[in-house]
């Protein structure tokens, strides 16, 4: 994991009031990389992204220990500051501004950018990545299909010229064709120079895109390693790629530091993970 200082999350703990959602989480996204974070529902993936983008307070949560830094200096937990530093999150569930038009949504994405020529450049880039958005600038975002809304949500984030894009389950609820298209676009965005932290339940898709991956379980990193290694590991294949039969034994795997209180957990069946 060499390379310039990208996103570095060290020893992160997050609580929502008394509820602990993350503990001792260490995740690194080198500049230029795609890094995946996998995990079942409730594992803490979204919480991790909120801690980076500074939106925990919207959920009455907060970082209780650890640090998040980008480019070698700390992110102070204000969303506007994160955006200004080039760290931009695409929220779970797309969250387009439904009452606004496609063009207005894109404009909203650029609200943190002062330089008009940069905004124009970003718009050109977004329109070439997603031609459908260029075709329908005046359509209400709420009337787009799910896949189109996901495109708009990613496009809106790109309007801020991010150097680090945080994606929260971008293929959730999309048909396989559309999911594949989103995946291809994420690869393209990365090839244009944007680092990506990709949160997914769709492990097959995420491991295909990422160079490195982490598996979160109940708020802790249970596994991590190069994506290819994880994709080949029995544990991940069985539990996250829907290969083999589920068992009730504890996770074992590359770099697994099992949580002390982890008694045998019920096996989560993850029917979607067959993409």
């Amino acid at each position: 994991m060499a390379g310039e200082a990208g996103l570095e999350i060290t020893d992160l703990a997050v609580h929502y009031g008394p509820v602990r959602a993350l503990r001792g989480v260490r995740v690194t996204v080198p500049r230029g990389a795609v890094v995946a974070v996998l995990g079942a529902n409730g594992a803490g993936k979204t919480t991790l992204l909120r801690a980076v983008s500074g939106t925990l307070r919207f959920h009455r949560g907060g970082v209780t220990s650890g640090t998040v830094s980008f480019g070698g200096s700390r992110l102070n937990g204000s969303p506007a500051a994160a955006v200004a530093r080039g760290v931009v999150q695409v929220p779970e569930g797309r969250r387009v501004f439904a009452r606004m038009t496609v063009a207005e949504n894109l404009r909203a994405g650029a609200l943190g950018v002062r330089d008009r020529t940069k905004v124009a450049e970003a718009r050109d880039r977004v329109h070439s990545l997603f031609p459908i958005l260029a075709e329908r600038p005046h359509q209400r975002a709420g009337l787009l299909s799910g896949g189109e809304q996901q495109m708009l949500s990613i496009a809106r984030a790109l309007m801020a010229n991010p150097s680090m894009l945080l994606l929260d389950e971008p293929t959730l609820g999309l048909a396989p064709m559309m999911a594949a298209r989103i995946a291809a676009t994420i690869r393209e965005i990365n090839e244009q120079g944007t680092s990506v932290l990709l949160v997914e339940q769709n492990a097959a898709m995420a491991l295909g895109l990422a160079s490195h991956a982490y598996v979160l379980e109940v708020g802790e990193v249970a596994l991590s390693g190069p994506a290819a290694e994880l994709a080949a590991s029995d544990e991940v294949r069985r539990r996250y790629l829907g290969v083999g039969t589920p068992e009730t034994d504890r996770p074992v795997g590359i770099g697994a530091d099992a949580p002390p209180e982890a008694t045998p957990r019920p096996v989560r069946t993850l029917p979607r993970w067959t993409a």
Partner: protein, 296 residues
């Protein structure tokens, strides 16, 4: 017929002024989801400044000072109280604004005492004759100014970065924050704009044929609440429609009071609230209140 036309024009003109107040109310609600009950005292503060300053500064400067002053009071309320009140629910914040309103109004009415303060406007009690219709010049000016301000406001809301930030925040504050929108600034600007609009409204509520600014001015300002609510609390179009409905109803009910004697005297003052209740019975979200468009 002439009476009817006069009443109608007067109603529209007063309605446009109510719409100004309601617009500020709606902007605050959209940006912060707070139902702002300090609105009447913001209005009183703006009018009070104009009344006190015009002898020294002249009318126009005093008006500018009143507008700036009310905007500042609005911004201060946001910055010192609303932003810091880390309460869980917007309902609690609304009650906080009632407290602030009582404080401000009490202090201002103490200052005003039993006086009726003139605002020193240049239109005085002149009356325009449009064919058979007679209408106070102040009403014509009110209508023109309110229409211009509302138009400017709606254009800004639709086309400027400020407007986009405002609407994005209204729809989904967390996601707006993810776009780099500073919610504190959005909220502050909403309160300041509301204050400024309230001060302009204060002027037109206190000029001829009203004798001037006195302690009952807040009661007039209160009529903008039903205007905002019946239009739909989160709709700028609704504020406009609500203002006009309330203004016209009030004018007609007062004008035809003698024919409506069976409803009791003073029906004109109660009319806005009656209309509000009637409309809410059929459209609980107000006439233009939003229905969710999102496809999930």
């Amino acid at each position: 017929m002439t009476t009817f036309l006069e009443l109608l024009v007067n109603g529209i003109s007063v309605g446009a002024v109510y719409a100004l107040i309601a617009l500020g109310f709606v902007v605050i609600f959209k940006a912060t989801e707070v139902v702002n009950f300090t609105h009447a005292s913001l209005l009183l503060a703006g009018g009070f400044l104009v009344a006190k300053l015009h002898p020294a500064l002249g009318f126009w400067l005093a008006l500018a000072a009143g507008v700036a002053g009310a905007a500042l009071v609005g911004a201060l309320i946001e910055f010192l109280i609303i932003r810091r009140a880390r309460v869980g629910s917007h309902g609690v914040l609304a009650i906080v604004t009632i407290g602030v309103d009582i404080l401000l109004t009490t202090e201002l009415t103490r200052e005003i005492g039993t006086d009726v303060l003139a605002l020193g406007d240049p239109w005085r009690d002149q009356v325009l004759h449009l064919g058979p219709i007679m209408i106070a010049e102040t009403r014509v000016v009110a209508l023109g100014v309110a229409a211009a301000l509302i138009t400017a406001f709606l254009l800004a809301f639709k086309f400027t970065g400020w407007g986009v930030a405002m609407r994005a925040t209204a729809e989904d504050a967390e996601t707006a924050a993810l776009m780099g929108v500073r919610l504190g600034r959005v909220s502050l600007s909403a309160w300041a704009v509301a204050g400024a609009l309230a001060a302009i409204a204060a002027l037109f509520l206190c000029v001829f044929p009203t004798p001037g600014l006195d302690r009952s001015t807040t009661a007039a300002a209160m009529k903008a609440f039903p205007a905002a609510i019946l239009g739909g609390l989160d709709s700028t179009t609704g504020a406009l429609a609500g203002g006009l409905i309330v203004g016209v109803t009030e004018a007609l009910m007062s004008g035809y009071q003698s024919q409506l004697a069976f409803l009791g005297r003073g029906i004109g003052d109660a009319a806005p609230f009656l209309v509000m209740i009637a409309i809410l019975l059929f459209r609980p979200a107000g006439i233009f209140g939003t229905k969710e468009l999102a496809r999930v």
